[in-house]
Every structure is written in C-alpha cells, then in structure tokens.
Subunit: 325 residues, 2 copies
C-alpha cells in the first residue's frame, strides 16, 4: 500500500469531506447540538425560542498573516471574533459554522491546525462546531457564523444607552494594536502584546453577566474603542465621554510605546482586534465582576459624539481599516 | 460638491458599512426576524425551539463565473444552494447571513447586484437577510449561512432510509450540467439549460412537504444524483436502485446532448448544481405533490451501493469536483 508522508499532503489530497470531518472530529459537543456536522444541515436547540446569529469573514493578509501567527492561532482568532459578537448581545454562544476557502495546495497540516484552533476556541466558549464547508480558492478566506442563546433575556443592542448611564468595559484594550506595531517593525516580542495580536481573548462570560446586571447597550470592541462607541452613540442618539484617567494603560503597553516612539493611549482608544466588550449601565447599578467604569453617557448635542475628557481625541490612526488593498 | 459617476464607484468607495446596508436595505423581513442587521448580531425567532443551520462557500472561477452569469444570478445561486440544504432537512428557511470577500476594486454595481440577487432568492423562500460582513480579498468569495425552522417536526436526515422505501425526487435533474456543457463550449443557448446553470431553482416547499408526508431520509442533490444517493445509502446502511425509465429526461436535454455528442442521462444521474431534493418514503405513502418515484431502497449487500436498473452506472464524469485548482 502506497503511503505519502503527512508532511507532503495537501488539502486537495484530503478531499473536502475528510477535511470537514477533521474540522469537527473528536470535539465535545454541548447539549445544544442536537445534530452535528455530516448531514445537509445541523440542528441546534434554542431553549430561549430565539437564536442570536452573526457572521464574520477573515482573509489572509488582511486579517491574519501565517508568517506572524500559527494556523492554530488564526483558527482561534477567526472563531473568537464571532463569538465576541454573540457575547456582546448578552447571549451565550452555542454553535459555530465554518466556511474555509483555501488553495488546493495548502498543506493538510495547516488546515488541520486551523481546525484545531477553531475547535479549541469554540470549546473555551462552550460552543460546538456544528457544520462546515471547504472549497478551493486562491487565498485563504475563513468565514465563521456563530449562534447563541439569550437565556430568556432581551438582547442588549447598541441603541439603549441613556444620558446618565455609566460607560464600562470588560477585557483588554490596546494590546492587539501594540502587538501589530511590534510585528510591523519586524519584532517578535514582547510576547504578551504580540500574542494579543495573534489571537484575542474576548471575555465571553462578561457579556451575559452585563445583560443580567441590566446593561442598556453593549458592543464588541473590534474596530477600536472610540469608533465602536460611536456606533452606540449614533444608535442611541446620545454622546459619550471617556475619562482617560480611568483607562488601564498596562505597563507593557507603555514600554512598547516608549520603544517604538508611539503613544500607548492611542492604542487603548483606537486599536482594534482586542474584542473587549463596552457597555452602558444605569447609574445606580453595581457593575458586575470583570467590568470597570471608564466614562459617562451624556445628552447628545447637535449630533451624537464621542469625546475623551470632554474633547475630541486626536490620533494619527483612526481605527482599524479593512480596505487595505 | 465633488461627485463621481456611479459607474466608476468601487466597493472600497462605498465602504464596508454602506455596502452591508445595501445588501439588506429595503428587503421585507419575515416575522421571524426579531432584530435584523446593524447590531453585533441578529436575533431570529425559533418557534420550534430548535434551529437548522448550514453554511456553503462559493468561489469565483470555481462555483460561478461573472462572464457566464450576471452578479444578480450569482447572488441568487449563492443563497439558493444554502436554502436547499435547509429544505432538505424538512425545514422552512427563516434567515440568511452573508459573508462577502471581494477585491476593493470590485465595481460597486457588482456588489449591489450580488446583494439584490441574494435578497430576491431569500424572499422567494420566505427568508430574511439578517446579517453580513464585507471584507477585502483578491477574488470574490461568497459565504452564506442559512437558518431554518422545523415547525415541530423531526429533522429528515440522511440516515433513516429503510429497505422497501420508495425513492423519489422533486425538482429538476441534469439541467445545470447540460448548461455547463453548453457554456463550456462557448454557446449561450438554449437559454433554459444555460439559466439552470446560472442559478438553480430548488423546490423549497417540497422539503417540508416531504417531511409532513413521512419521508424517512432526504438530501439536497448538489453533487449529482448518484453521488448524493450514496450519502443516503451509506448513512442509512442500505442500497438504492434507481430505475432509469422513471427519470425525466427533458426534450431540451436530449437536444443539447445530440448537439454536443453527450449522453443526457449522464447529466440527469451525475450532474450537480440543480439542487433538486431526493428523499425516501415508506412504501405505503402517497407521494406529496411535486414528488415522483424513481427507485427503491434495498437491503445493503456486502456494502451499501447505488445502482441503476440493478447495475453500477458507468459515466465518464463522476460528479461535481470542487478541487479544480
């Protein structure tokens, strides 16, 4: 029997079906997975009578680089950015569906590592990989859909913030942007910020926790804090003021900023890809664990705006830009 | 105020957010859409307490060609192939999420036409476009996730076929393959088969109808009848025999076959992309409207197999091949 070394195998050698199998094989399925992959569609239970659904696409060279990250890290990231959107509605992630387009010449090991990363991140959030499709393309495009359950609560949208509310965040800010700056200069350390760029660690649990505590609006910070707060401000027709002194600028960001001649507060306020959560809470609410107050919701003036210590924040970089090509 | 002609606008000029808006704007949402696009995630009601979910990815040059089809037709096709998977579970489509990766230089009109086609096909099936993501890539990759509701019925999987069951199909077979043969030779007519290749018209209603009638197994015919029946045979551990005489070979397929020197029965038995539905029913069931009997489920011999008039069917082309690159 002829055998080829695993190192030389490609995605095309594996074939579509065995790759889908590898993406999902050996993964623990949560109790919500009634029918996993392998049929025309999956069946997922929705105890709440509603399902939260979101989709995000990641493209090689735009959203990740396989010379900066391992395939496993890319897989984790692809799933994490979607599950963060589910958490930002106050929902608990239940399921993930994976669409993978990649060159037929992609080493099988890369696809398997991508799959392992996806599975690990889904498990970390309590979700199951319930379906997938693998097709040939010229570059790697990963498209993920995540589903979640509201557990009987109302979804926390972007439009419920009211003047007087407290603005709070959960999770890290600025780390991924600092990591991008480091990697962009050709460095590979400090590893803390570099890994934050390689894959985010969204605080999934803090989404439902905020909803239980009565959060009035919530958003996943994917494009940068100020830019994403602008979405809340516009949707809620309010203004939002961030108190710079309340923001945590970690010592490591300060050090990287000093080394690269960059302003770490820029990263905290406008850096994307950390997938922290930002939410507004009624003024009398005790913030749940994991959340820290960083500002206030105000009446909108002529138009909704987001300020820092009462002023427009001036930065060179104004958030994450998708259209790089 | 400086204005640019619409003809010269690109996807990058539109920006990510306005393109997502265009994908979904002005579309009627079904009653299941509780929160449409524009927030971190959509909220879709799932009256059944379960949701059916499936994802499929289409790549330019592999699954569609914009010199063969209009962008609107491609949009319809991308949504149709996913909704057919939902119908094949016996479920009614409720929602569609769209991931679109395309070059920043893509004309805005192409993206808008793609979006219009997606919206039209979703509406045709009673589903809403509830979310989307648009990113830059080197080629056009469309990734769709479709959700559906089982309306209290059990999902019709691939594994329930039993010896003695009747095999039946709903929808057209062989048309898209005939169209592919025509287009591949550089012709643009006959328009019936060419359009069948450009976008399929899956018989969505026939999926739930089959489930209500007691179908024991069902599959969406995407890769060719014989190949897809093999999935049922293996999952159900049965053999399946197709009666060639029961298959409808439309006069147009016969004519195209004669013109191209091809065997039209090959297209009917192995041509993909028509997205007909194939299902098995208990022998005593009166087939619902839209379904026609074409064979029988048998005890598996040494291994499950699919035969035509009791024999292995010999074709040159053995189904749809994704790995063309």
């Amino acid at each position: 029997m002829q055998q080829r070394s695993p190192g030389g195998r490609t995605v095309a050698d594996m074939g579509e079906f065995s790759l889908i199998g590898a993406v999902v094989a050996g993964r623990r399925q949560p109790s919500t997975t009634q029918l996993g992959p392998g049929d025309d569609a999956a069946v997922v239970s929705t105890p709440d009578g509603r399902v939260v659904a979101t989709t995000d696409v990641l493209v090689q060279g735009v959203h990740f680089r396989l010379d900066w990250s391992t395939a496993e890290q890319v897989g984790r990231k692809a799933v994490a950015v979607n599950l963060a959107d589910v958490a930002a509605m106050g929902a608990r992630p239940t399921s993930v569906l994976v669409g993978l387009a990649c060159p037929a010449s992609t080493p099988a090991q890369v696809a398997l590592d991508l799959a392992r990363g996806m599975g690990e991140e889904a498990e970390r959030a309590g979700a199951g990989l319930v379906g997938g499709d693998v097709v040939a393309a010229e570059e790697i495009v990963i498209s993920i859909t995540a589903l979640g359950d509201l557990e009987g609560r109302e979804p926390v949208t972007r439009s419920g913030a009211r003047p007087g509310d407290v603005l709070a965040v959960a999770g890290r800010l600025g780390w991924a942007a600092a990591g991008l700056a480091v990697l962009g200069r050709g460095f590979r350390s400090p590893v803390g910020v570099v890994n934050a760029q390689r894959w985010p660690e969204p605080p999934y649990e803090d989404g439902p926790r905020a909803a239980v505590a009565g959060a009035t609006a919530m958003i996943d910070v994917s494009d940068g804090l100020l830019g994403d707060l602008e979405h809340i401000a516009k949707a809620s027709e309010v203004s939002i003021d961030v108190r710079a002194g309340r923001l945590v600028v970690d010592q490591r960001l300060t050090e990287v900023g000093a080394a690269l001649g960059a302003e770490p507060l820029d990263w905290v306020l406008t850096g994307g890809e950390d997938h922290a959560l930002a939410a507004t809470f009624p003024p009398d609410v005790t913030l749940p664990a994991g959340w820290r107050a960083i500002g206030t919701v105000l009446e909108a003036g002529e138009q909704p705006e987001v300020t820092v210590d009462g002023d427009t924040y001036e930065v060179t970089d104004t958030g994450w830009q998708h259209w790089r090509r």
